[in-house]
């Protein structure tokens, strides 16, 4: 029955044109069976010799063209051929192409032929051939690349580019790659999943060595490959997940494709990260879009059409992100932006359909992801907090209120996140303790990227926490705790510091204490560190004035809380207040510079802090001096400010409070140590007499040189003018103390030189200022270390002025009032000798004129007996000028020269108080205003005489323990009666007016 086809003429041509396309009908069935036999045996059936590789391959190609049933065998055989070629190729590379280039080129043409046939077939019937060839090519590529990976010339699997270069220069692999690309291009139209599936499977099997294929294909078809790879992964994930639930035992045996999805996308991420991100986000978005609104354009094969796959998309993406930090990093930033309320609603609708355990899994996964996300954590956190915050109260942010279900979901997510972080953080710290032996190993794996990133956002977190919005601040506070524990002391102090800087009221400040309470269990020395950190910030000027002020006030409030709660049982807070106090006390010298801060609010806050802060137990003198200098300067500053602002308004109240704080600070500082006492007193006195401050106390800046100052606006520029200097007669050469005395009353023809006087302050202000200054000085003097222990028996009774302190004041006074130290001895010369010191005396008098505050100061000194002795020179000078005045005065009554009268009264009064004079002589001032100038001079002269006779020496004073004061026993001195005679004569002379005073002058 079999038919001999008329193939005989063709048979002749067959052998010559073996690989032309006309073999299609060229072989008879007998020939074909011969062909099959020789293919199987590898022996030429006709000639009985062995077939070469090329001939065998040609035979295979012929079979491929004519016997459909043989195609698998042929492809199988061609694997060997390709492998052969690759081997030869690599070998020629290894031997520098010298030996066997002929062999490989021989095979190269057969490979070209095969490639031609295959691509012809694919072109003719892609549907039938593309799946077959693509699977074959991919598998063969996988085999080849992993088999020859160990060859010497093969670059390491990690160097993808070299690998790619090597394989693409090999004809066999290049041809396979081209064939696969062709198949892929053909198949993308109708079943792209299948070929990508194969790609993925192979990629899993030959993981590192196959990567170049994926990379090449991926970069050839980036858009499709990415989306296809994702779709494949999703499908696999979907079916895999379903299987997981069914039988768990099967889970381990099959490697899910997701691994290779991650690997491939990781590859492509190098060059196509943008499209990967877009694709991932698109997947996310489309999985949420309700199917009704889906455009019908999307093909039926795509995953969007299957509700099951759409539901699995979100878990899949999460899983993907969990497996690849790269991908996650790419998506996370934009994902948060995408989660607008409508999207959230869709997401919720989608997730509602999932079973409980799966939701829990997702939650866990999401939490894990967030905690592992290396960037964008702050944004995620803000998003979560925004969404989870109940919207009922006030508008919490720019986002409109989300749906309640969404809110609850976010709430839950956030809480789980916190719990998770809590576990991580505390387990971590356990581990860190255990692994002290090799800290490097464990430290790396304990990193929590989320917290790591938030470390730099501590400030924002603190600010948000302090907004005290409902639940939000609880979460954030918890997070801050975790962050602090995680980041260790540095973050903890940073956090605490931020809270301290940003809190604006006690409720907010309480958050800081709560944080501290939580952290104190696992961290020591937190508060000192935080304070030190704050101080560092002060030094680096990173804080603005407002923050600075807030920080200082908060610290002050913290310290003060101790005082307030002392009575109650506020254990934690008061102990913390103590800690803050001691910490601040260690940095007083750092804070003191803030007293002079340009911003009044800051300096106010600083003085508040310093005034309530305890003083350190020990402190280097330099710090103390610095502190006291700053405090004194600040004192004058606030006095001035008080004068400027008056007592009205907030500023006035603040200034007044500043003054009182300043006073408190000064007195406490003064009481701290003799050193500070001395420094403060000295500076106070100097300050009070300083040009800049003099007007505060009613002083007029006496221009001693007396040169006419033409106009105040010009004067500063003329500092270098020779004319000006020449005009200031007497200043260029100091004649004082010399035998010449030069007086300069003015330029002839222009009258007396004008006294430049500054604008005078309101007398009440002056009085107040003087009062304040005296109060400070008195307080300083009386609370000094010497008698601080002794409390007065009567609380109303003021503490006695300490002698040492008074001496300091006295010495300072003298230093400031007397221009030179000549004639500075304590004992007085005869009155006539005063003419040698006229110029100095006039200077002293002018001082007293210019600074009314000197008299009250003298009084203070006088009260601190025997300190007034040290003022001897000043007293003497003043008295000498007074004597000269009264002598020269031609007025009818002493009251006609009011200042001199007052000065004389005060001087004598002071000397009496200071027990330089016995009471009889000290009382003479009571009569002055009733006398004539000459009589006043007589009386003052008696005073002079007494002092000359009984030198005002401190050693004449003895401490009387019952009074707590130094007292002078006048009985030891010479007879007073001698000096009283002029008094009595004056009394007699004016008995009509002075009768009522007679008893004051009885011996």
């Amino acid at each position: 029955m079999s038919v001999v086809f008329d193939g005989s003429p063709l048979k002749a041509t067959q052998s010559s044109q073996s690989h032309t396309a006309q073999t299609q009908t060229g072989l008879s069935s007998q020939e074909l069976s011969q062909e099959i036999k020789s293919f199987i045996s590898g022996v030429d059936a006709a000639q009985g010799r062995k077939l070469s590789v090329r001939e065998h391959a040609r035979c295979a190609v012929r079979l491929l063209r004519s016997v459909p049933a043989c195609r698998e065998v042929v492809l199988e055989h061609l694997r060997g051929v390709y492998n052969e070629h690759v081997s030869a190729f690599l070998h020629s590379l290894e031997t520098d192409g010298s030996s066997s280039s002929g062999g490989s080129s021989n095979l190269e043409d057969i490979i070209q032929e095969v490639h031609g046939v295959l691509s012809e077939f694919i072109g003719l019937n892609p549907r039938a051939w593309a799946p077959l060839v693509s699977a074959w090519a991919v598998d063969l590529l996988g085999q080849l690349s992993s088999k020859h990976a160990e060859r010497r010339v093969a670059p390491h699997a990690s160097s993808l580019n070299e690998l790619l270069q090597l394989w693409m220069s090999c004809a066999a692999t290049r041809s396979l790659m081209e064939a696969y690309s062709q198949c892929l291009a053909a198949m993308l139209a109708w079943c792209p999943d299948a070929c990508v599936d194969a790609l993925l499977d192979t990629s899993v099997k030959h993981s590192p060595h196959f990567d170049w294929v994926v990379a090449h294909i991926g970069s050839a078809f980036p858009g499709t490959i990415i989306s296809r790879v994702l779709a494949c992964g999703l499908k696999d994930y979907c079916s895999h997940g379903a299987k997981d639930q069914g039988l768990l035992g099967d889970k381990g045996s099959r490697v899910p494709k997701i691994g290779s999805v991650v690997g491939i996308l990781g590859h492509l991420a190098a060059h196509h990260s943008e499209s990967i991100r877009k694709e991932l986000l698109r997947m996310f978005q489309e999985s949420l879009t309700p199917s009704a609104t889906l455009s019908s354009a999307s093909s039926s094969a795509s995953w969007e059409s299957s509700p099951q796959l759409r539901r699995a998309a979100v878990p899949f993406l999460l899983q993907l992100a969990a497996m690849s930090p790269n991908l996650f990093g790419a998506v996370s930033a934009e994902l948060v932006e995408l989660l607008r309320p409508p999207v959230l609603l869709q997401l919720q609708a989608l997730l509602q359909g999932l079973p409980r355990e799966e939701l829990d899994n997702l939650l866990g996964l999401a939490v894990h992801l967030i905690s592992q996300s290396p960037s964008g954590g702050a944004r995620v956190l803000r998003f979560l907090a925004d969404t989870a915050t109940p919207a009922s109260v006030i508008i919490s942010g720019p986002t409109p209120s989300p749906h309640e279900g969404v809110r609850e979901g976010c709430d839950r997510l956030l809480q789980t996140l916190l719990l998770h972080l809590h576990k991580l953080v505390f387990n971590r710290s356990d581990g860190a303790e255990v692994s002290l032996l090799n800290p490097s190993s464990s430290q790396t794996q304990r990193v929590i990227p989320f917290l790591e990133e938030l470390r730099s956002h501590v400030g924002q977190l603190c600010a948000e926490t302090l907004r005290l919005e409902r639940k939000r601040h609880l979460w954030l506070h918890q997070l801050l705790c975790l962050l602090s524990v995680y980041g260790g002391p540095s973050v903890a102090t940073e956090t605490l510091c931020q809270l301290l800087t940003q809190a604006r009221n006690p409720e907010e400040l309480a958050l800081a204490w709560q944080l501290h309470t939580t952290l104190s269990s696992c961290m020591v020395g937190l508060i000192p560190a935080a304070v030190a950190h704050c101080v560092a910030q002060i030094h680096t000027h990173t804080l603005g004035p407002r923050q600075l002020r807030q920080l200082l006030l908060n610290l002050a409030a913290a310290i003060q809380s101790r005082d307030e709660e002392k009575g109650g049982a506020a254990g934690a807070q008061s102990s913390m207040a103590v800690q803050v106090g001691s910490a601040v006390s260690g940095h007083l010298h750092d804070f003191c510079s803030l007293l002079l801060h340009g911003d009044t609010a800051v300096s106010h806050a600083a003085v508040r802090l310093l005034s309530c802060s305890p003083l350190p137990r020990t402190s280097p003198p330099a710090h103390l001096l610095l502190l006291s200098r700053a405090a004194v300067t600040h004192f004058f500053l606030v006095l001035r400010r008080r004068g400027e602002t008056g007592n009205v308004g907030r500023d006035g109240g603040q200034a007044a409070e500043s003054v009182s704080c300043s006073v408190l600070l000064l007195s406490r500082l003064a009481a701290y140590s003799p050193l500070t006492l001395k420094a403060i007193l000295q500076q106070l006195v100097e300050g009070a007499l300083h040009r800049g401050n003099a007007h505060l106390f009613g002083g007029q800046i006496a221009d001693m040189s007396g040169a006419p100052i033409s106009s105040p606006s010009v004067s500063p520029d003329l500092g270098a003018s020779l004319l000006d200097i020449n005009c200031r007669f007497g200043t260029t050469v100091n004649f004082s103390g010399s035998i010449w005395s030069v007086f300069h009353g003015g330029v002839i023809g222009k009258g007396l030189k004008v006294r430049t006087d500054a604008q005078l302050l309101d007398p009440s202000v002056v009085t107040q200022n003087i009062q304040t200054l005296l109060a400070v000085i008195v307080q300083c003097c009386s609370s000094s270390g010497l008698n601080a222990s002794r409390s007065p028996s009567d609380p109303d009774d003021p503490l006695p002025i300490n002698a040492e302190a008074a001496k300091v004041v006295a010495v300072t006074l003298v230093e400031n009032v007397c221009p030179d130290v000549a004639n500075g001895e304590l004992s007085w010369p005869p009155e006539e000798h005063a003419r040698t010191t006229v110029e100095r005396d006039i200077h002293i008098r002018r001082c007293f004129e210019a600074h009314p505050v000197l008299f009250p100061l003298l009084q203070v000194v006088a009260a601190g007996r025997p300190a007034l002795c040290y003022c001897s020179a000043a007293l003497r000078g003043l008295l000498a000028t007074l004597l000269a005045h009264w002598e020269a005065s031609r007025e009818a009554a002493a009251t006609d020269s009011p200042w001199h009268l007052q000065a004389s009264c005060l001087l004598v009064c002071c000397m009496g108080e200071g027990q330089l004079l016995p009471p009889v002589l000290a009382n003479v001032h009571e009569a002055f205003h009733l006398l004539t100038p000459f009589e006043v001079r007589l009386l003052l002269l008696a005073v002079w005489e007494y002092v000359r006779g009984n030198a005002p020496l401190p050693q004449k004073f003895a401490f009387s323990s019952e009074k707590g004061l130094f007292c002078r026993d006048f009985s030891r001195d010479g007879d007073v009666a001698r000096y009283v005679a002029p008094i009595h004569s004056v009394l007699h002379k004016n008995i009509d007016r002075l009768g009522h005073l007679c008893w004051r002058f009885q011996l």
Binding site: M1, S2, V3, F5, Q24, T25, S28, S29, Q30, L32, S33, I36, K37, F39, I40, L64, R65, S66, V67, P68, A69, C70, R71, E72, V73, L75, E76, H77, E120, F121, L124, N125, R127, A128, W129
Partner: protein, 450 residues
Amino acid sequence: MGDIRQSLLPRDVLSAAKELLYHLDIYICNLVQSGRQPPQVDAKTLELVEEFILHAPKDRNAPARKMSALQELQLLEIMCSCFQEQSRDTVRQLMFSALFHIQGNQADESRMVLLGKLVSMAVAVGRVPILECAATWLQRTHRVYCVRLAQVLVDDYCSMVPGSVPTLQNIHSMSPRFCCQFITAVSTLYDLSSEELVPPLELLQMIVSWIQEDPRLVLITFLNTPLSGSQPISSLDVTPLGSLVRWCVKAPLAYRNEKKQVLANRSADSEPDPRPLFSALHLSVLQVFMLLPNVLNEKGLFGRLALLQMESVAALTSDLSRLLDQADKHAHTSAAGAQVPPQLALDRLAQALQVAMASGALLCSREDLRPICSRLPHNNLLQLVLSGPVMYYNNIHTPPLAYSPHAAHSPIASHAPLPTRSPHTPLTSHAQYPAQPFMSGMPFAFRPGH
């Protein structure tokens, strides 16, 4: 025979299979010689075949042995020569059925794969005995499997390997029986019900040329089979006539749908038009019908055996009415010429029914057909066929048999049937399909148009 298993086990896959084939040959020879009726291969042997040739997993623990593609090819080659060399037809048949009879177990998958390859290879290398055996197999096997085998061949020769159609074409000369069965299977497979199930053009050309060359080809199975009434259930039909009629009738509608896409996809491609092929096929089918009375009379079966079952006609008409409804929906958009394909389909149906009834292939009366065709739209010829010649003369304007939407807007068709027949008119102009003269001996009840 079961005792050789132990000796086969240690062998490698190929030699075990070879040896089993060898033993099987001997075993079946003995079986036939013993004269037992009917010769039956025992279950143990079948199991061995499944284990060592088909490599069905015997139990779960044993790893399934698998042949490489080369080994498989060798096995196929051995089988080919084994069947070729076996001279006795009975032995061959028994052996073939021992190897490839569908057992309804899990080995059937690999059995079908192997069979497909074997037959495909037999076609390529011209192993007639195998084709003969396969023809018998196609007669005895459930149509699902037959269709699969046909699918394998069509894939291999018409789509996979370009230019290999002539090889398949040869089966007509190699084994007409197999060819006939192949036509039956293929025409059953491609029932034009969807786009995938439209026969490839190469296949169609091949079948048309076969039948044109030898109309009796389609009857070969019927002629060679002793009609014992022992046809296996749901095996293929004895003749492909029913499914070929279906092809011809449905083709105008099916191809019309497909053609739109084809035109859209590749307009410049010189794809031959399938419509003349179906016309030629229709003519050939009608001619085969007209051969039938003689054949049936020879067998003494005229009027006793329906080669065209009433059920398949009913299925066809309902399919057709559904298709026409669809076409009607589309017709609103493409107005011009939309009526041509449906009328052509109806014309062909009417012709086929008329000739089949006349030739005794369809055993029914006009009255039986009327309810079946009641859903169809109006067609003059069909109405004539259903009503008979007398009614035509009496009332030419008889309303349609049943209400049909077509009647309303096809007055031209009903009044002037001639223009609608234009697709048939160029039939004679196709040189490659030479026109067949009408057989004058055939009594035509009515000749349309003449």
